[in-house]
């Protein structure tokens, strides 16, 4: 079993002194469905932000596909195509007023040719069931629709590991099932999914591994 992402004894203090991570360790292996639970402010989002080098720990180490994270530009580029991160609030991620253009941003950054980018946008849109929203302006979408567009924007990069922060909140039951099915497909293809959530039902029903965060530490 290959470990895709490994957090090793991380300590992180936000500027201003809040201790968000206090010796957090966790491993996400290929083919795993993992749910990360924890009270508000327990450090879930902070942990996810370490996985692709957005934050750099004050102590400890992050490894992606076995390699310790290299925080130089080139290293980060490699890691960010392997680890996809979907954020808690889609309005923070959607930067373009055009849905299609927003989804194309990630694949464009991978340096693919335009036809390949078009194919990926179409594929991701179809997967997330936002194909009919491609020509709509971003600001005319509902919250659940925005969440699915944000997810499509990350899936279009075909990450190995998908880490999602609360993406299921605000989805209707139908869209919820659909997004869970997308996660399953990713896992079936040898990827891994980690969901930070407050959804206990999902933890019980769907997850292979349930991790719980408490005051900056993880219990599995």
């Amino acid at each position: 079993m290959t470990i895709l992402v490994e957090w090793e004894d991380l300590v992180y203090h936000y500027p201003g002194g809040v201790v968000a991570l206090d010796g957090a360790s966790l491993q996400l292996a290929a083919g795993q469905r993992m749910v990360l639970l924890g009270r508000n402010g327990s450090g879930k989002s902070t942990l996810l932000r370490h996985a692709n080098g957005l934050l750099r720990p004050q102590r400890g180490r992050v490894r992606v596909a076995g390699q310790p994270l290299d925080y130089a530009r080139a290293g980060l580029n490699v890691v960010r195509r392997q680890v996809g991160l979907v954020f808690q609030n889609p309005d923070d991620q959607l930067f373009s007023a055009s849905v299609a253009q927003d989804i194309s941003f990630g694949p464009m950054n991978l340096g693919l040719d335009l036809d390949e980018v078009r194919a990926r946008v179409a594929e991701a849109a179809q997967m997330c069931d936002v194909g009919d929203l491609l020509e709509r302006p971003t600001h005319a979408l509902s919250m659940g629709q925005k969440a699915r567009v944000a997810l499509a924007g990350v899936l279009a990069m075909r990450p190995l590991a998908l880490l999602a922060d609360e993406v299921l909140a605000g989805l209707d039951p139908w869209a919820y099932e659909q997004v869970v099915a997308i996660f399953d497909r990713l896992v079936a293809q040898g990827g891994a999914v980690l969901l930070a959530t407050h959804d206990l039902r999902l933890a019980e029903r769907w997850a292979d591994v349930v991790a719980v965060m408490e005051q900056g530490r993880v219990r599995v």
Partner: protein, 256 residues
């Protein structure tokens, strides 16, 4: 703004290349300014309304309403050109009305001058209306990118346009939250609440910019916002129609 946006996305020529729509509007605008004659402006207004209703299938009511609103505004602001005020015992030339020791006067020349001004401005406004009611800003930005506008400007426009809607939304949310807690029950409280709202909005936009930065980085941001260019349709006969329009405007000027 929301209204403009709605029509910009839902009209019959949404998929037409913005270069074509922009080209037509720009030509009409330039001719209005260069030929500078009320007849040309009037004709150009007619053309733009015709294209908006006939080609883009916009509701005529909306297009006319927009123009009327602009016309009223223009009339109000050219009032000072058409009319003049003076003191003193002698009546100014032209038409004049006396109010106490004030003379309110006008003359054929002044009226003519005002008419030319209004016509020119209204002709240009009609051309711009046609463009913004048929072309979403994302397409205009796309066009600017094709015209090799510096990336920094393009990125700024993209982010600003999106931020407007996000901030409007959070503004509305915060206002409702304050309202629900009686934040606007009297003028004094209303003042305090508004001040709080403004400062919160500043903090909010700062935080948002940070989170946006993070999410862009996560998707491999390389310093510019590279996105897929749109694909558009070309209407060949629209070019022909454009040529006819130019000819008619020039002819109208020559016959005067």
């Amino acid at each position: 703004m929301q209204v403009i946006d709605r029509y910009a996305y839902a009209n019959a020529i949404r998929q037409v290349d913005p270069a074509q729509k922009g080209g037509l509007a720009l030509v009409a605008l330039l001719l209005c300014l260069l030929l500078d004659h009320p007849l040309v402006s009037g004709l150009s207004i007619g053309w733009m309304l015709g294209l908006a209703v006939g080609w883009a299938r916009l509701p005529g009511r909306v297009v006319v309403q927009a123009l009327v609103a602009q016309a009223l505004f223009l009339l109000a602001s050219t009032l000072s050109v058409a009319l003049s005020l003076s003191w003193g015992g002698v009546a100014p030339r032209g038409w004049a009305v006396q109010i106490g020791s004030l003379w309110l006067s006008s003359s054929p020349a002044a009226l003519q001058h005002a008419l030319v001004l209004v016509a020119r401005a209204l002709g240009s406004a009609a051309a711009l209306n046609f463009l913004i009611l048929t072309t979403p800003l994302v397409d205009l930005i796309d066009l600017l990118r094709r015209l090799r506008t510096p990336e920094v400007l393009i990125d700024l426009m993209t982010l600003t346009y999106r931020a407007i809607f996000v901030l409007l939304e959070s503004l509305e949310r915060m206002r409702v939250a304050q309202e629900a807690r009686l934040g606007y029950c009297n003028p004094h409280r209303a003042m305090q609440s508004s001040a709080l709202l403004i400062s919160q909005l500043f903090i909010e936009s700062y935080r948002r910019s940070q989170r946006l930065q993070e999410s862009l980085e996560s998707r491999g941001f390389q310093g510019t916002l590279r996105v897929l260019p749109n694909t558009y349709r070309h209407d060949v006969w629209a070019w022909r129609l454009g040529a006819v329009m130019v000819a008619s405007l020039v002819l109208a000027r020559l016959t005067r």
